[in-house]
């Protein structure tokens, strides 16, 4: 369990003071020994409060720390630092420092939903982890990761593209953002599939929602809204 760096570590034991005066009387011997303060500080309780007050993060309080989520986690097999149980633990303690140190792992959830599915307490683990990640991003504590960049690109493509996307429009947008690397052979294969499947029409003129302008306006208004779980 890492202890926040900015704070002094816990030192156990006693300190002996050379000179102690109480009510004008100088004390001596064992009276000069004091116990060191042992309250651990540096944890920020507002982290839990804020996450538990989001729609996705509200179930964080139900967690039992049994570890069922982490033991079956798909990502855990590839990234030993990835631990939904651990993230929830740290977020509840409010150990921002430790969460920041885990920033290269935190974003890597592949949304396979095993954790949420198997949680015996009904914690929406996948959503809670995203909520913790979102908290750190919102407060500027971690830098933007490729996963978030792609998620934002996805939403942007949906809005720009008239409410609908395809792998093709999304792929084109991702390529523009420098995210896709396809070999020549891949391109030939995909190109052939597009031609044979008659998708060429859709590439040239992608489908749009008919009254998208109106929907888009409302959507953009709604996106400014703060949502609380009630």
């Amino acid at each position: 369990m890492p202890i926040p760096e900015l704070e002094k570590p816990i030192v156990k034991g006693l300190i002996q003071k050379d000179k102690v005066i109480v009510d004008g009387v100088e004390l001596d011997g064992t009276w000069n020994a004091f116990m060191i303060e042992r309250t651990q500080t540096g944890y920020d309780p507002t982290v839990w409060d804020e996450i538990a007050n989001t729609l996705e993060g509200v179930t964080i309080s139900a967690c039992w720390q049994c570890g069922t989520c982490t033991s079956g986690c798909t990502m855990r097999e590839y990234d030993p630092n990835y631990s939904p149980r651990g993230f929830i633990d740290l977020a509840r303690k409010g150990d921002k420092q430790a969460l920041i140190e885990l920033q290269n792992s935190l974003w890597r959830c592949v949304s396979c939903q095993k954790c949420t599915h198997r949680c015996p307490k009904g914690v929406l683990v996948e959503e809670v982890v995203h909520s913790i990640h979102h908290y750190l991003l919102k407060h500027g504590l971690v830098k933007k990761d490729p996963g978030t960049v792609f998620d934002e690109l996805f939403l942007e493509t949906v809005i720009k593209n008239g409410g609908r996307i395809s792998e093709l429009t999304l792929g084109a947008a991702a390529a523009k953002a420098g995210m896709v690397t396809l070999s020549l052979k891949d391109l030939i294969n995909i190109g052939a599939a597009i031609l044979k499947g008659g998708l060429i029409k859709d590439v040239l003129r992608p489908n749009r929602v008919k009254n998208w302008d109106r929907v888009q306006k409302v959507l953009e208004e709604a996106m400014k809204e703060e949502v609380v779980p009630e």
């Binding site: 996705e56 890597r108 095993k114 792609f150 949906v158 429009t169 044979k196 499947g197 959507l219």
Partner: protein, 305 residues
């Protein structure tokens, strides 16, 4: 003449994937329901459900995009929404879950839906995946009677993807008789067996393909996909059958990279389950768009022509 469904009136939500590279899924699914005589009426003017990405960017957008589709389905008078893509099935179910649980969110959503020009959403929809829909509506015996081109001896590995039954809190898998088994789904196995195909033991049925991170975390995605293919190969599958356009497209487009990185013998052709069903029902490879799949499943299927 179309058969009534146990779900009442059904609206079909194709989702964006079926308009894009998943077109062969769309086309073949239409052929299958036509042959089986069950209805599949598309929701007009639907929008993207936000898949797995939008909800991570903005909470309200993640709720509102699927909610609009649900409201449109209710406007059609539907009692159930059938989605072919497990990602869409998941996002619609997720919205349904949140709207049911949080009345104030529901009120807010309804205000926005009205501004968008659709009706209020009254939560009276059942959300169904296309595999469950076919399995529960016509049953295995009806599928058997329609088979004109039995796929005897074809070794298939059915790949359901993660979101077909997960999480149970959203999809309600395992809570109802009409839902598939949440840990070991078998509806697609049964459908494929009805075509005469041999379903190989395949434990990677619901293993994740890393779909949402194919662009941002490509190494992990390739590794996960290679594991699915290895598992299929190990059990002697000739073809990987999918019901998830995200997994299908991710594995198909990455096949060359996987083969280069993890061994040439991992190359396996992929087909949507509906393509195989339509093919077995006697439709030509061109009609079912089996010829358009990137991994060329006809190399295996041509012996049944």
């Amino acid at each position: 003449m179309t058969l009534p469904t146990p779900y009442g009136k059904v609206a079909f939500y194709p989702g964006c994937a079926l308009d894009g590279l998943g077109k062969s899924y769309d086309v073949s699914l239409k052929l299958v329901v036509q042959d089986l005589g069950i209805p599949l009426e598309k929701i007009e003017d639907y929008n993207c459900c936000g898949a797995l990405e939008v909800k991570n960017v903005n909470t309200m957008a993640g709720i509102l995009l699927p909610a609009r589709n649900l409201a449109l389905a209710r406007e059609m008078g539907a009692d159930a929404v059938v989605s072919a893509c497990p990602g869409c099935h998941y996002s619609l179910s997720r919205t349904q879950y949140y709207l049911t649980k949080y009345p104030k969110l529901r009120e807010k959503t309804n205000v926005y839906l009205e501004k968008m020009g659709t009706k209020n959403y009254d939560l009276k929809l059942m959300l169904v995946h296309a595999v469950e829909y076919i399995y529960n509506t016509v049953g295995i015996e009806a599928i058997k009677t329609k088979v004109k081109r039995p796929l005897t001896g074809l070794k298939v590995a059915p790949y359901y993807g993660c979101l077909y039954v997960r999480p149970k809190s959203y999809t309600l898998a395992g809570y109802m008789k009409m839902r598939d088994d949440p840990e070991r789904p078998f509806f697609m196995d049964e459908i494929l067996k009805a075509l005469g195909a041999e379903v190989v033991p395949f434990e990677a049925k619901t293993m994740c393909c890393g779909g949402p991170h194919v662009y941002s975390d490509v190494e992990v995605a390739l590794h996960l996909e290679a594991r699915i293919l290895k598992e299929a190969k190990r059990n002697g599958a000739e073809i990987l059958v999918t019901d998830c356009p995200l997994g299908h497209v991710a594995i198909e487009t990455n096949m060359e990279k996987i083969a280069q990185k993890y061994g040439e013998d991992l190359r396996t052709p992929l087909a949507y389950f509906s393509q195989l069903v339509a093919f077995a029902f006697g439709h030509s490879p061109e009609e079912t768009l089996l010829t358009a799949n990137i991994t060329n499943p006809m190399s295996v299927l041509k012996r049944y022509l």
